[in-house]
């Protein structure tokens, strides 16, 4: 029996395979009929202790399409947090005014803590470098939508695999679906061994590469991420690798027709703009899918769907 009602979502590992699939099924229903006014009697709190315009707008859009109301703040600078209020006090206060809290916070682990003190459910919209489960769910939705299934996918993860939290969550989630992982990164930004352990423990395989072109012919999904200069201890090394993980349209000639390129956005230069017109480019649709997935989560947690 799958029941997501009144349960916080902090980390993608809080959900079983069946629960993930349930959310994706509900999201599919919202893709068919997005303007279901089933949230008209509800208030959602959106607490962004650090700005993240993209994620905030996606959540707000999800609530507005459902006819719900939103209260909250877009950065800590305009809130009582600036006056030194503890996270616990903010959560306890806001829980008096709303049915569900969407929270973004720069501290690692803040979402787990908030879910422990809050009498109402929390959706983690990013806690520092730790987790961002709604990004993971929209990635999974996009993979299933474009490949017809989540099972047995060959996924190429490209770029910063060391610090990229979206990559880590995606590995954890896809380990439930018998994926094969092709890891493309510079030597110093390889996937941490603790994350590789997830793959091993699931009895699955991973392969490591330093050349992006090596994985293009057989990948079902190419998941691109940004490489940030400040991640490199040695600026010379950054200069050496910064242009080796750029996807250009000409490179896609040898790729499968069903292959799709994903990116959590915002991109800087790691996907050349000439890829945008290729039918394999899927990153803007991917962002749109985020609204369906967030509609699904909010309604499932409030017990309105599922």
């Amino acid at each position: 029996m799958i029941n997501l009602k009144n349960r916080s979502l902090v980390s993608i590992t809080d959900y079983s395979k069946e629960e993930i699939l349930k959310v994706l099924d509900i999201a599919e229903n919202f893709e068919k009929d997005q303007r279901q006014k089933i949230l008209t009697n509800h208030v959602i709190a959106s607490l962004f202790f650090e700005p993240s315009t993209r994620t905030r707008l996606s959540f707000e859009s999800a609530v507005q399409y459902l006819g719900g109301s939103i209260i909250g703040f877009a950065s800590a600078g305009t809130s009582s947090v600036k006056k030194g209020e503890s996270l616990k006090d903010t959560i306890l206060t806001v829980s008096n005014y709303s049915d569900l809290i969407v929270m973004r916070n720069p501290l690692d682990g803040s979402a787990r803590y908030a879910s422990e003190v809050s009498p109402i459910p929390i959706i983690n919209a990013g806690d520092g470098a730790n987790q961002h489960p709604t990004q993971c769910l929209l990635d999974l939705y996009s993979i299933r939508k474009t490949q017809g299934t989540l099972e047995d996918i060959h996924i190429a993860l490209v770029g910063d695999l060391k610090y990229g939290r979206t990559v880590h969550s995606l590995v954890q989630a896809l380990s439930l679906f018998n994926a094969t992982f092709h890891l493309v990164s510079p030597e110093s930004l390889k996937l941490p061994s603790s994350v590789k352990k997830w793959i091993k423990d699931a009895g699955l395989e991973y392969y490591q590469y330093t050349e992006l072109s090596d994985v293009i012919p057989f990948a079902d999904i190419i998941y691109m991420t940004r490489i940030q200069g400040e991640r490199f201890p040695d600026p010379i090394e950054y200069e050496k690798v910064k242009n080796s993980y750029i996807l250009e349209n000409s490179m896609l000639e040898k790729s499968k027709e069903s292959m799709r390129v994903l990116h959590p956005l915002p991109r800087v230069n790691e996907i050349s703009e000439d890829v945008d017109d290729n039918p394999r480019a899927y990153y803007f649709q991917q962002a749109k899918n985020g609204v369906y997935v967030r509609q699904a989560l909010i309604t499932a947690i409030l017990g309105l769907k599922g």
């Binding site: 720069p106 682990g109 730790n130 987790q131 352990k197």
Partner: protein
């Protein structure tokens, strides 16, 4: 012969606690962790002693002090195979291997400076896990980072 020697060492204090089979390299750590330099009573300390089990071991004998369960968990973290012996009137009243609990609460600081437990009034909470080499690590319930025993800092 060997048994006699061990008994002799143990019975050297009238009343108190003996911590035996400490890995030699952690003897000073256990000493510091239990704040023994501030002890008013007799404290005996030996390290790099021969041990069949560990190669080299350490032993600490503390007069008139008996440890609380949370202090014993601390010992277990840095000396998981240590033996704890309690003595009253030269008699061994209790002898047990220190037990590592599955969860460590409040006594250890999270190594991640951005962890919520280091920035808000949140008690720490770790699960004991083992990596792919079988090495013991602590996983923070909040920031989900794992830390090795070398990074442990007690609160």
């Amino acid at each position: 012969m060997k048994n006699k020697r061990t008994e002799l060492k143990v019975s050297a204090i009238r009343s108190g606690t003996v911590i035996d089979h400490i890995p030699a390299e952690n003897t000073f750590r256990v000493f510091a962790m239990l704040n023994l330099e501030n002890s008013a009573d007799h404290v005996y300390f030996g390290t790099n002693l021969e041990s069949r089990k560990l190669g080299k071991k350490g032993i600490i004998k503390i007069s008139n002090i008996f440890f609380k369960p949370e202090e014993i968990s601390k010992i277990a973290l840095v000396a998981p195979n240590a033996t704890l012996i309690e003595i009253k009137d030269y008699e061994i009243v209790k002898k047990e291997q220190v037990l590592l609990p599955g969860e460590i609460q409040k006594i250890v600081k999270c190594v991640n400076p951005k962890c919520v437990t280091n920035n808000q009034n949140v008690p720490t909470y770790f699960k004991i896990i083992y990596d792919h080499h079988g090495t013991m690590k602590l996983a923070c319930r909040y920031c989900e980072k794992t830390m090795s025993m070398d990074d442990i800092e007690f609160i």
